[in-house]
C-alpha cells in the first residue's frame, strides 16, 4: 500500500518521448553492433572476477568479443522494440539504465579483446570514485528538495577536506578529524542558508562566492601553513574492515563489504535519505516546502526553519564527502583537490532526478567513466585513451540532454519565501 507515496519519481511520459526512448535504444543497439561487433577481431576477452579473501575463487571468464557485442546489441534492440510496441511505462528509466549498461559493457568487451582485464579492480575503483560524488549529490538533494539551490557543494567539499586534515592531524584522531570536516561543511552551508533564506541573496551568486572563498582560503593556507608544517598534513586514513561472512562472498563480498567506515556510511545515507524523503513526515514537509512554500505555510509549517535545517544538513553531508577525499582515501590535502567533483556531484543529482538512489546510480556511471580512463591506457587499445574516455561521458551527455530531458525540478527551487 505504501507504494502510493512515491510520487516524487512518477512523472508522465508522453507518447512522443516514449517513442524517443525506443528509437534511442535501437540506435544504441545498432551502434553496438557496428562499432563493437564488426569492430572486433576473432579473439576473446578475458575477465578476472576475484577480489581478496573469498570463500572460493570464481573461474576466469573468457568470452568471444564480437559474439558478445552482437548478443548485447540484440538484447538492446529487443528492449527498444518492446518499448516501441507497448512501452515500459514509468519503469522506463530503469530500462534506460540497463541499456546504457549493456552499451558500456559491450564497449569494455571490445576494448578487452585479445587481452585480459580484472573486472573486480575496475568495479572497486568505480565504487571508490562514486563515493564522494554520491555524498555530494545527496547534499544537493537535501538542499534543493527544500527549495534552496546549492552550487557550493564543491566549495564545501574542498573546505571540509582541508579542515578534516588539519583537525585530524592536530588531534591525532581520525574521528575528530571527520567530525571537524563535517562541521566545517555545516558552517559553510550555514552561511549559504543565512544569505539565501534570510537575506534572499541570489542563490547562484551566494554559492559561487562560497566556492571562490573555499578555494582561496584553502590554497592560501596550504601554501602558508601545510607546506611549512608537514605534520599537519598527515592524519592517516580510516582503515578498511570486513563485515564477517558476507565479505567472503565471491566478487560482491570484497566489493561491498570490505571497505572503510565512510563507504559504509554512504550506503546507509543513500537508503536513509531516500526513505526519509519519501516515506516520513519530515520528507513530506521538506518536499512541500520545496514545491509550494506558501501552501506549506498555510498548514502551519515553518518554511524557513525547514530550509535552514535542510541546508545545514546538506552542508554536513558535503563535509563528509570532503572528509572522504582526505581521511577516507589519500590521507593528505592538496591544493584544489576536489577539482570539480562537487559540480559532477551536482550533475549526478540531476541525472538521478533528485533521488538519492538515482544519484548513487548516476555517480557510479561517472565513477566508471573515470576508472575506465585509467584502465584503457593499460589495455593498450588503438585509440588514444583520452579520446576513448570521452565515450561514456558522451553517452551520459546524450542520456541527460536528449532522453531523460526535463527532470522535474522542485517548483520553488531557488525561490526565496517572503511571508507578507
Amino acid at each position: 500500500m505504501s507504494s502510493h507515496s512515491a510520487t516524487v519519481t512518477t512523472s508522465r511520459i508522453s507518447p512522443a518521448r516514449a517513442r524517443g526512448f525506443g528509437i534511442f535504444f535501437i540506435f544504441l543497439a545498432v551502434a553496438m553492433a557496428v562499432l563493437f561487433g564488426m569492430g572486433s577481431g576473432p579473439d576473446s576477452a578475458t575477465f578476472g572476477l576475484n577480489g581478496p579473501d573469498q570463500f572460493a575463487d570464481l573461474p576466469t571468464v573468457e568470452i568471444p568479443a564480437a559474439g558478445t557485442a552482437y548478443f548485447l546489441a540484440v538484447v538492446a534492440a529487443f528492449l527498444g522494440g518492446m518499448q516501441l510496441a507497448r512501452g515500459f511505462g514509468h519503469r522506463i528509466y530503469l530500462v534506460l539504465g540497463v541499456v546504457v549498461f549493456l552499451f558500456i559493457f559491450a564497449f569494455l568487451v571490445w576494448a578487452t579483446e585479445d587481452n585480459s582485464l580484472n573486472l573486480y579492480g575496475m568495479l572497486q575503483s568505480t565504487l571508490l570514485r562514486a563515493i564522494p560524488l554520491t555524498l555530494g549529490a545527496i547534499s544537493g538533494v537535501l538542499c534543493e528538495k527544500s527549495g534552496v539551490v546549492n552550487i557550493a557543494i564543491e566549495g564545501m567539499m574542498l573546505f571540509s577536506a582541508f579542515m578534516g586534515v588539519i583537525i585530524g592531524s592536530a588531534s591525532g584522531n581520525l574521528w575528530i578529524g571527520l567530525i571537524g570536516g563535517a562541521l566545517a561543511g555545516g558552517v559553510l552551508s550555514s552561511v549559504l542558508a543565512v544569505l539565501s533564506i534570510r537575506y534572499r541573496v541570489d542563490q547562484i551568486i551566494a554559492g559561487t562566492v562560497l566556492n571562490i572563498f573555499a578555494l582561496g582560503i584553502t590554497s592560501y593556507l596550504t601554501a602558508r601553513v601545510l607546506v611549512e608544517y608537514q605534520n599537519l598534513n598527515n592524519p592517516g586514513t580510516f582503515r578498511q574492515f570486513s563485515i564477517p561472512i558476507v565479505s567472503k562472498i565471491p566478487l560482491i563480498g570484497p566489493l561491498l563489504f570490505r571497505n572503510n567506515i565512510l563507504i559504509f556510511l554512504t550506503f546507509v545515507l543513500v537508503g536513509a535519505v531516500w526513505f526519509g524523503l519519501n516515506k516520513t513526515r519530515w520528507g513530506l514537509r521538506v518536499r512541500a516546502v520545496g514545491e509550494h512554500p506558501k501552501a506549506a505555510d498555510t498548514v502551519g509549517i515553518n518554511v524557513q526553519r525547514v530550509r535552514y535545517r535542510n541546508v545545514i544538513m546538506g552542508g554536513v553531508v558535503a563535509g563528509l564527502a570532503g572528509a572522504y577525499l582526505t581521511l577516507g582515501s589519500v590521507g593528505r590535502f592538496d591544493e584544489n583537490m576536489t577539482a570539480g567533483k562537487g559540480f559532477i556531484a551536482l550533475a549526478a543529482m540531476l541525472f538521478g532526478r533528485y533521488n538519492p538512489v538515482g544519484a548513487f546510480g548516476a555517480a557510479l556511471v561517472f565513477g566508471f567513466a573515470e576508472s575506465l580512463q585509467n584502465k584503457l591506457a593499460i589495455l593498450n587499445v588503438g585509440i588514444s585513451s583520452e579520446l576513448l574516455a570521452m565515450a561514456p561521458y558522451l553517452a551520459t551527455l546524450l542520456v541527460v540532454a536528449g532522453v531523460v530531458g526535463r527532470t522535474r525540478v522542485p517548483a520553488a527551487d531557488g525561490v526565496p519565501y517572503v511571508k507578507e
Binding site: H4, S5, R281, T298, V299, G300, A411
Partner: protein, 517 residues
C-alpha cells in the same frame, strides 16, 4: 462556535486595506462578504487566518481574545480557509495534501497514509465531498481540487470555514455541488464566511450579507431584505447598470477564419477535434461551454502558446497557423489570457511596467534604445484612472494588487493597442459587478470601432450580454452555432451539456449529394 473580528485595521504601505472592521459569524450560519475588487475582503480573511497581522483590532473566538501570529494558531483555534488561489501542492496526491502539517505516523515518523485516508473518506462521505485519495492534484479538475481544499480544512476540525471566491473558477454544475456542500456544513453547525462577486449565489445561500467598500463595512443586510441591484449599489457607492447597452451588430468581412483545427493538451490527449468557425469584423463571437471542453487549448493554439496539430488559421488573407504571439501582436491581435498570474503579468514588475509589456518597444514609450519613463508613467496613470485599478501608486509591484485588480490591469493593457481582433478568455473572471459592466462596455466599444471579437466564457450571463453569435463547444467540438436573437439560456445550456439540436440545420452552402463527389 462564534468568531468575531473587532475593530480590525490593516495597513499596507500606502493603503489602508481594512479600516475598523467588525464582523461576527456563528456556528450554523453563512455570512457572505461582498465588496468591489480591492475592497479588502481577502486581506481581512488573511488576518483572521493568521497570515497577516492586523495593524489594529482584535479577534475573539467564543468571546475569548485570540492572538494569531501564524496560520498554525488559527488552525488550532478551529479556523480553516480555502484561498482564492488554491494552496495545494500539484505533485502531491490528495492524501498527502490533506494530511500535510498534521500527519498520521507509525513508528520512525513513517507516514500512515491508510489511516489518514480512512479519516478523509469518512469526512468525505459525511459532507458529500467525493475524492479519490490517491489521485495526484495536478490531474484533477478545479472543482475537485476545491473539494480537497475544503476537506483539508475539515480534516483539521475547522469549525469556521472561510471560502474566498470559491465559485469564480467553477462550472455551473460544480457550483451546484458546492452550494449543496455549504448547506450540509451549515447543518453540521459550522460557521461559514463566503466571498463572491456573483450576487445571485450570495442571495441564495447567505444568512447575513456584509458589504465592504474601500476597506470599511458599509452595510449589513439579509437576502430577504435586499436584491441584486441594491447590493451592487451598496458595493460601488453609486447606481450601477447591470446590463450593457448594445446595438445590433453590422458584421463586416471575416477577420479570423479557423478551419478544421485539432489540438492536443499537455498529456497529448486530443482535446480540440476539428473545430471550424469565423469571426467577422464588428461582431462578437462568443464560445460558450463548460470549462474543460477544449476552449483553453483552442485559444492557446490560436494565440501561439500551443502547437496546432492540424488545421488552418487565417487572419484576413494571411495564414497565421502556429504564428508566434509577437507576430500576432504586430498584426494587431490583442489577447486577454485566461490564467492571468501565469500568462498575463510579471508580479515583481511595477504596475506601470506591466501596462507597457506589449508596447514598450514602440513610441512614445521608447526613444532609440532608451525607454521614456515619464511617458510610461503618464500612460499608466491614465489607465489606472480609466479602468479604476485600485492601487496606491503605479510604481507598486503588480503582485500587491487584489485578484480582480490584476485582471483589470491586464485588460487595460490589451485595450491600449489598436485592434483588428480581440481574443478575450474569461475577461471578467473574479471581477466585481461595476468592473464587469465597464469591461463589457469597452468590449462592445471595440466591436463598434471595427474589431472582431472572439470571447470565451463559461459564464452564461456574460455570453448572453455580449454575444452577437454564440458557438457552443462541448467535448472538443463545436456542437452548434446560434444567432443571439435565436439563443435562449435554455438552448445554450442544453448544447453546453452536449445535447445537439434535434434537427440539425443543413450545412451551408449545401453540397450536392451523390456518389463520386
Amino acid at each position: 462556535m462564534k468568531v468575531e473580528l473587532r475593530g480590525v485595521t490593516k495597513r499596507f504601505p500606502g493603503v489602508v486595506a481594512n479600516r475598523d472592521v467588525n464582523l461576527t459569524v456563528s456556528g450554523g450560519e453563512v455570512v457572505a462578504l461582498l465588496g468591489e475588487n480591492g475592497a479588502g475582503k481577502s486581506t481581512l480573511m488573511n488576518v483572521l487566518f493568521g497570515l497577516y497581522e492586523a495593524t489594529e483590532g482584535e479577534i475573539y473566538i467564543d468571546d475569548q481574545k485570540a492572538e494569531f501570529s501564524s496560520p498554525a494558531d488559527a488552525i488550532a483555534a478551529g479556523i480553516g480557509m480555502v484561498h482564492q488561489h488554491f494552496m495545494l501542492i500539484p505533485v502531491f496526491n490528495v492524501i498527502e495534501n490533506v494530511m500535510l502539517g498534521l500527519e498520521e505516523t507509525k513508528g520512525m515518523g513513517r507516514l500512515d497514509e491508510d489511516k489518514a485516508s480512512e479519516r478523509l473518506l469518512s469526512l468525505s462521505r459525511e459532507h458529500g465531498l467525493q475524492v479519490e485519495p490517491y489521485a495526484v492534484i495536478e490531474d484533477l479538475p478545479v472543482g475537485v481540487q476545491q473539494r480537497v481544499e475544503i476537506l483539508k480544512a475539515l480534516y483539521r476540525n475547522a469549525d469556521c470555514l472561510i471560502l474566498d471566491e470559491p465559485t469564480a473558477v467553477l462550472t455551473p454544475d460544480e457550483i451546484r455541488d458546492l452550494i449543496g456542500v455549504i448547506q450540509s456544513l451549515k447543518d453540521a453547525g459550522k460557521a461559514i464566511i463566503f466571498i463572491s462577486h456573483k450576487l445571485k449565489e450570495v442571495l441564495e445561500i447567505a444568512d447575513q450579507i456584509v458589504v465592504l467598500r474601500r476597506g470599511e463595512v458599509v452595510g449589513t443586510t439579509t437576502p430577504s431584505e435586499t436584491n441584486e441591484q441594491e447590493l451592487a449599489t451598496m458595493m460601488v457607492g453609486r447606481d450601477v447598470q447591470l446590463e450593457v447597452s448594445k446595438t445590433p451588430s453590422e458584421p463586416g468581412t471575416a477577420v479570423l477564419r479557423v478551419t478544421d483545427m485539432h489540438v492536443r493538451d499537455d498529456r497529448e490527449v486530443k482535446v480540440v477535434n476539428g473545430v471550424s468557425f469565423e469571426v467577422k469584423a464588428k461582431e462578437i463571437l462568443a464560445i460558450a461551454g463548460v470549462q474543460g471542453n477544449g476552449q483553453t487549448q483552442l485559444i492557446e493554439a490560436l494565440t501561439g502558446l500551443r502547437k496546432v496539430e492540424s488545421g488552418n488559421v487565417t487572419l484576413g488573407d494571411e495564414d497565421v497557423t502556429g504564428a508566434s504571439p509577437a507576430t500576432l501582436f504586430k498584426m494587431d491581435v490583442a489577447h486577454i489570457p485566461e490564467d492571468r498570474q501565469a500568462d498575463g503579468m510579471i508580479g515583481a514588475f511595477s504596475i506601470a511596467d506591466n501596462l507597457v509589456l506589449n508596447t514598450y518597444r514602440e513610441r512614445p514609450f521608447s526613444k532609440g534604445i532608451l525607454t521614456d519613463r515619464s511617458a510610461i508613467q503618464r500612460s499608466a496613470t491614465k489607465l489606472i484612472e480609466d479602468f479604476d485599478i485600485r492601487t496606491p501608486s503605479a510604481r507598486s509591484p503588480a503582485s500587491t494588487l487584489s485578484g480582480g485588480n490584476q485582471q483589470k490591469m491586464i485588460v487595460a493593457r490589451e485595450f491600449t493597442h489598436a485592434q483588428r481582433l480581440l481574443i478575450a478568455s474569461q475577461p471578467t473572471r473574479g471581477l466585481d459587478v461595476g468592473s464587469i459592466q465597464y469591461i463589457h462596455a469597452r468590449i462592445v466599444a471595440q466591436r463598434d470601432e471595427g474589431a472582431g471579437v472572439l470571447l470565451v466564457s463559461s459564464e452564461l450571463d456574460e455570453i448572453m450580454a455580449l454575444a452577437d453569435r454564440i458557438a457552443v463547444m462541448c467535448a472538443g467540438e463545436i456542437v452548434g452555432v446560434l444567432d443571439r436573437a435565436d439563443a435562449t439560456r435554455e438552448k445554450v445550456g442544453r448544447l453546453m451539456a452536449g445535447v445537439r439540436d434535434e434537427a440539425p440545420r443543413p450545412p451551408s452552402p449545401p453540397v450536392a449529394e451523390g456518389e463520386g463527389s
